[in-house]
Each structure stands twice: as structure tokens, then as C-alpha cells.
């Protein structure tokens, strides 16, 4: 539904995004990257606020810049906290709905439905100027989905939300994705994204680093060393045992904690199947073992720093 072909955008000398090529299908996609990675620039390009310096962008088959045809089917929840502070939540969402072309007869019901969907029914009658960060996020989401768009672009929608709010909005987004809409959510916080989708676009310093299912990305980097930390009563002896395995590349110890060891392997699955036997044979006490690499954060850290 969204496609970028060699799209770059820079501001004078500063590069926003650099030669990004990707397509974003229907369903939920997370745009992931640290601050300054170019996520917002990419979303502004997709939502037609910016024009690409080079390359092409199309949303639902059309170039999005200042294109009402695209905006009829596209909802956008910007990152900014600023809003029309003199309006109430209802007035704001109503204005946005009217501008989105919702006929007057249907507008009021639709506004109420959307406000309820984002959990703002109680507070929507108050002026936005008095809203908390979380309320602002919710009302921003409401204006983005008021016209039931096919493509919904949300720039850091979870910022400032409490856990309950996060869960509620996540459900709203997932429902839309399940209904076949294209939902793009940007975030720099991994666990937010993990709760929503496994389909990610990973960005760093303006470049698209990886795209696809998080497990695919995982397997992409599986040929690279994988770390496992183990807390045990006899780290030295366990280390020598594990080093006998052909797929264990090396072991490191922690100077501060003699109970802690970290080993590297390029074949974690084989290691995990062999590990219980080693422990039982050697009579080791294992307090804890974990792989810092076995979550999105590690993929992320690896791709970003590697």
C-alpha cells in the first residue's frame, strides 16, 4: 500500500533519510530506530508533508505530497505535542472530521464513536490546553482515524501514555490492522513494538537497515555469534566443559562476579539442546541463564552498532 523507491530526503547538509527502498503491506508494520534515525522524516514523506529530494514515494498508487486523493484514505497522528489548546477534544476531532469530508449528518455520531474508541469520552468535552500528555496522544489518534482511513501512520503514538493507555491504543491499532488496513507505527522503544507486531522496518542514521519479520531478521544474523550469559556456582569448570562443544566460540568471565560467565556460539539451537546434559553430568547449579540476544533489542543493538 505504501512504497518507497530509492527515496532520499535531506535538509541542506543534514540527511533525513538516505536511499530507502521498501514496500509496506496491509497489516501492522513498526518503524523502529533510535532518535534521529529518520523515522519522522520517512513518515512525513509518506504523509506528503515533505517531498523526496530524490527517488519516488507512492501511497495507494499516488504521490502523496499535498494530494487530497491520498489524504482521503490516509490518517496521520503526528509526533508533536502542540495542539489547538483553545478547542475541546470534541471540537478538534469534529473539525478534523469535517475537513476529512465526513458529511454533517454522520459527523457527530462518528466523532463520538472514535472518541470512545480511544477512551476519551470522559475528557473530550474539556479544552485540549488542559490535557495530560496521554490525553493528547489519545485525541491525536482519534483525529487520525476519524475518517476510517485505509492507511494509518502514527508517529510515536505511545509517547507519554501509561501502561493502561498503551494497552488500549495497541488494541485499537491491532483491530485496524486485522481489518486489513495498513498501520505504520514508529517507535524508539522496543517493547512497545514487540507487543504490537513482528513486522518491522529498522532504521538508523537515515538508512533502512533491515525489513521484514523480526524472526527473519533474527535468522539473517544467526550466522553471527550469539551470546548467552549463565550464572552458576562454578563458572570456570562449566566454561571448560562448554568449550569442548565444537560450536562454542569462546567464553568470557565477569571480574566483578565470579559466578557469571558469557559464552558465544554461532549455533544457539544446538547449544540449548546440549546444555541440560552438561549441567546434569557435571552437577552444576544454574541460577539463571539468558540470552541478551534473544529479543528485538539485541537485533536492534546488533544492527545499529554492528
Amino acid at each position: 500500500m505504501i512504497s518507497l523507491v530509492n527515496a532520499s530526503r535531506w535538509y541542506q547538509q543534514v540527511i533525513g533519510i538516505n536511499d530507502v527502498t521498501c514496500t509496506i503491506p496491509a497489516g501492522m508494520t513498526a518503524l523502529l530506530g533510535p532518535n534521529g534515525a529518520g523515522k519522522s522524516t520517512m513518515l512525513k514523506l509518506i504523509t506528503g508533508q515533505l517531498r523526496p529530494t530524490t527517488g519516488r514515494i507512492s501511497v495507494l498508487g499516488e504521490a502523496p505530497f499535498a494530494n487530497p486523493n491520498v489524504y482521503r484514505k490516509l490518517g496521520y497522528c503526528p509526533e508533536i505535542e502542540n495542539n489547538y489548546d483553545d478547542m475541546t477534544g470534541y471540537e478538534f476531532v469534529t473539525l478534523m472530521g469535517a475537513m476529512a469530508g465526513i458529511p454533517k449528518s454522520a459527523l457527530k455520531d462518528r466523532v463520538h464513536a472514535v472518541v470512545e474508541q480511544v477512551g476519551m469520552t470522559v475528557n473530550a468535552g474539556r479544552k485540549i490546553g488542559g490535557y495530560s500528555k496521554g490525553m493528547r496522544q489519545r485525541i491525536k489518534v482519534a483525529q487520525g482515524i476519524i475518517h476510517d482511513p485505509d492507511v494509518i501512520v502514527l508517529d510515536e503514538p505511545m509517547n507519554g501514555l501509561d501502561p493502561v493507555g498503551r494497552r488500549e491504543l495497541t488494541k485499537v491499532f491491532l483491530d485496524m490492522a486485522d481489518a486489513g488496513k495498513c498501520v505504520v507505527v514508529s517507535s524508539h522503544i522496543l517493547y512497545e513494538v514487540e507487543a504490537m507486531t513482528s513486522n518491522i522496518l529498522l532504521m538508523n542514521r537515515g538508512r533502512l537497515m533491515a525489513q521484514g519479520n523480526v524472526y527473519h531478521i533474527r535468522s539473517l544474523i544467526d550466522s553471527h555469534p550469539h551470546r548467552i550469559t549463565i550464572t552458576t556456582n562454578d563458572a570456570r569448570r562449566l566454561a571448560s566443559k562448554t568449550l569442548e562443544l565444537p560450536y562454542v566460540l569462546g567464553v568470557k568471565f565477569d571480574n566483578r562476579d565470579p559466578r557469571l560467565m558469557e559464552l558465544e556460539t554461532h549455533s544457539p539451537h544446538l547449544f540449548y539442546s546440549a546444555f541440560p546434559d552438561i549441567v546434569l553430568e557435571g552437577g552444576f547449579e544454574i541460577d539463571n541463564y539468558e540470552s541478551p540476544d534473544n529479543n528485538l533489542e539485541a537485533v536492534f543493538r546488533y544492527l545499529v552498532n554492528g
Binding site: V14, S40, Q49, R51, P68, N83, A98, M99, G101, Q143
Partner: protein
């Protein structure tokens, strides 16, 4: 449908308390000045039309209209950009030109209503319970035969003209500003003395004499000078009646001018009566607001701080350029507005030689030219603003 909502929200935004207070101060200001003028003048010297004209021209047209158009029309864009809310408008399926146009209409409406209000209050303060008088002032373009005018004063058998002539010498000068007045009047006497009646007088010679006559009409009570009136019996009954009514203030000056008019029927043109310009002003205010508004809107589409540029234009360019010699006034919007909404202030500068001469030498813009120029300017500026607004990116950069 979306247009109505846009317009409504634009209007609501313009009617915010802070802006309303500023606007209210501006609106009341001309009225306050007019009331002060009424307090400061005797009742028979307060000319309502002239007070209105002076304040309407300087305060309403050259100040309130311009400054409100500047503030309201630039805020259409700058305010949305500064508070970053412009993104909500630009990611809607409403073409950008419609967004801009609706907001422009809102700003123009509010500016016009505010200026109208100022105009209505001013006219109430000026006209209620006070009199308007026609102008007694002689302007150079009212003199049909300048040679005859000079000759009439130089070789006059008429006691009324003689009385004026005598006053050129400065016998009855005001105590205040004595030196200045005396010197000027003296200049008139000297000029007349040096003038050779067989040739046309120069514009300056004529202006020196006319300015002194104007000053005497304003200041001196010729109607209680029995010597000046010694030939009154030969004059028309209407004039005799006017003189015998012993008018004071502006009315006295007018009767004196009538006397001159009757003495020099072929030399002086009968002055046109001054019309109350209020209703005409009400018509022209929206025209001025549109022209200035379109210009300031254009500035706001491509400048990040249009207010400063707008101020420099309004009170720098618009003030100084029209005063430059030649056709420079054609480069100022206000010159055209002034042609459409003329505000005569005949007694202002009527005693000043330079002002009288400048008045006749000024390049003239016809009202047809003014309409065409202002309309064309408005349309071009608005179209340019729309084109720029449609093409530009309005995105705050710091969070990229």
C-alpha cells in the same frame, strides 16, 4: 461543508480574548482623539468633517486597516506553523488553496469589521451634535485667472480687498508665533509689490499671496472692521445678510470667503461643498483591507517572520515612498487607497506656501487607475500566495 468548519474555526481563533483586547484598544483610539479635539476646540471652530477626515485618513486608513490586516493575515500561516498545528490542516483531503482562502476570508472579515467599527465610533464622536462646514480655504487650482487675482490685490479700489492687503503687512498678527506669521505676511506684501501686473505670476508668487489670504481668512475678523465693510451696500442682499448675522469661528471665515468670491467672480472658482465621506469610507475599507491583506498573506507564505517585513513595508515604504518627488507615489498602495477614499483637509497646510504648491504639482492618479491597480494587485498577490502555499513544505525541522 469542510469550508464552513474551516471558516468558523478561523474566525473563532481571530476572536480570541488577547486579540480582542488589542483590537478594542485600536478601535477606540480614533474616537478618543476626536473627543479630545472637540474638547480642545471652541464649538464654532470645530469642523466635524475636517476632524473626521484628518483622523480617518491618518488613523483608520493608514494605521488601523494596515496593522490589523498585517496581524490577522500573517497569523493565518505563522500561528499554525509556530504552534505546529499546520500539520493537521495539511494532511486533510482539502486542497491547500481552499484552506488558505477560507482562512483569508476569515481574516479579511474580522479586519473589515474592526475597521468599520472604528470608523463608526469615530463618525459618532465627530458628527453627533457638532457642525460641519464647507471649506473657506483658497487653493491654487481654484484660481481661474492668477494674473487677475494678483492684480486685484495690488491695485484694488475695494475696501474689503484693501483691508486684506493691509493685513499682509502684518499689522494684526497673532501674538503667538508672531515672528513666523509676520515674516510670511511680509513676504506676501513684498511679493505683491515686486509683481509686475503685465505678466503671469509664478506658482510660488501666487502661493505666497494665497497662503497669506488663507491665514487672514482664518484668523482675522474682517467682519467687524467697519472700514473693510464700507462698500457692503453695493453687495448682494444675501451677502449683506450673512455679514450682519455676525457669525463667529469657521462660519465667519466662510462669510469672508463669500465676500471675496462675490468681489472676484471671474477669478475664483466657487469651492465645491465638502461631502461627508463616512459612507464612502465604509465602502472603501474592505477594498483596502483586501489589498493589504493579500500582500501580507503573500509575505507570510514564504517568510518565517513576516511581521517585521510587513511593519517595515507599512510604516517605512508606505510612508516615505509617496513623499518622494515625481511618480514615486505610484509605488505605494496607500496612494491608490487615498484616491478612492479621499479625505480633504483643506485648512491643514493652507497657510503654507510649500503645501499649496505641492498640492498642485502632485502626480494625479485617477480613480479608474486606482480601482484597476488595487484589484489587479489583490488578485496577483492572492494568486501568488496560493501558488506558494501549495508548493511549499511547512514542516518544523527540529524534530527530524
Amino acid at each position: 461543508m469542510s469550508d464552513i468548519y474551516l471558516l468558523r474555526s478561523a474566525l473563532r481563533d481571530l476572536f480570541r480574548i488577547k486579540k480582542l483586547i488589542t483590537a478594542a484598544c485600536l478601535v477606540g483610539f480614533p474616537m478618543a482623539i476626536a473627543l479630545l479635539m472637540r474638547v480642545g476646540n471652541r464649538e464654532d471652530t470645530f469642523n466635524a468633517v475636517e476632524a473626521y477626515n484628518g483622523i480617518a485618513s491618518n488613523m483608520i486608513f493608514q494605521f488601523i486597516v494596515v496593522i490589523l490586516a498585517l496581524v490577522f493575515c500573517t497569523s493565518i500561516i505563522t500561528q499554525e506553523v509556530e504552534q505546529k498545528t499546520i500539520v493537521y490542516l495539511l494532511t486533510r483531503p482539502v486542497p491547500r488553496w481552499r484552506i488558505l482562502l477560507m482562512k483569508f476570508i476569515g481574516a479579511i472579515t474580522v479586519t473589515t469589521i474592526t475597521a468599520w467599527l472604528a470608523c463608526v465610533l469615530l463618525s459618532l464622536a465627530c458628527f453627533s451634535g457638532s457642525k460641519s462646514y464647507d471649506s473657506y480655504v483658497i487653493r491654487l487650482d481654484q484660481i481661474k485667472d492668477s494674473q487677475a487675482f494678483m492684480t486685484a490685490f495690488k491695485n484694488t479700489p475695494d475696501p474689503f480687498l484693501l483691508a486684506i492687503y493691509k493685513r499682509f503687512g502684518g499689522q494684526q498678527t497673532e501674538k503667538r508665533r508672531r515672528r513666523l506669521v509676520f515674516n510670511n505676511s511680509d513676504a506676501a506684501a513684498t511679493t505683491l509689490e515686486a509683481y509686475d501686473i503685465s505678466r503671469q505670476p509664478t506658482n510660488t508668487e501666487l502661493a505666497v499671496v494665497v497662503s497669506s489670504v488663507n491665514r487672514i481668512l482664518r484668523r482675522d475678523d474682517l467682519l467687524s472692521d467697519t472700514e473693510a465693510l464700507s462698500a457692503l451696500e453695493d453687495r448682494s442682499p444675501a451677502l449683506q445678510q450673512q455679514v450682519k448675522a455676525k457669525p463667529t469661528g469657521v462660519e465667519r471665515s466662510l462669510v469672508e470667503r463669500n465676500y471675496l468670491q462675490e468681489l472676484l467672480p471671474d477669478v475664483l472658482e466657487t469651492p465645491k461643498p465638502i461631502v461627508n465621506p463616512f459612507s464612502h469610507d465604509i465602502l472603501i475599507i474592505p477594498v483596502a483591507v483586501l489589498a493589504y491583506g493579500a500582500l501580507f498573506l503573500l509575505l507570510a507564505t514564504f517568510l518565517s517572520k513576516p511581521l517585521i517585513t510587513g511593519l517595515m513595508f507599512s510604516f517605512g515604504w508606505e510612508t516615505w515612498v509617496p513623499q518622494m518627488p515625481g511618480n514615486f507615489q505610484k509605488l505605494s498602495l496607500m496612494s491608490y487607497v487615498k484616491v478612492l477614499a479621499p479625505h480633504q483637509m483643506p485648512s491643514q497646510g493652507s497657510g503654507n506656501v510649500g503645501a499649496l504648491v505641492a498640492d498642485t504639482s502632485a502626480a494625479v492618479i485617477t480613480s479608474h487607475q486606482a480601482w484597476v491597480t488595487l484589484a489587479a494587485f489583490t488578485i496577483i498577490a492572492l494568486a501568488a500566495a496560493i501558488v506558494l502555499f501549495t508548493r511549499r513544505e511547512y514542516v518544523p525541522r527540529e524534530d527530524t
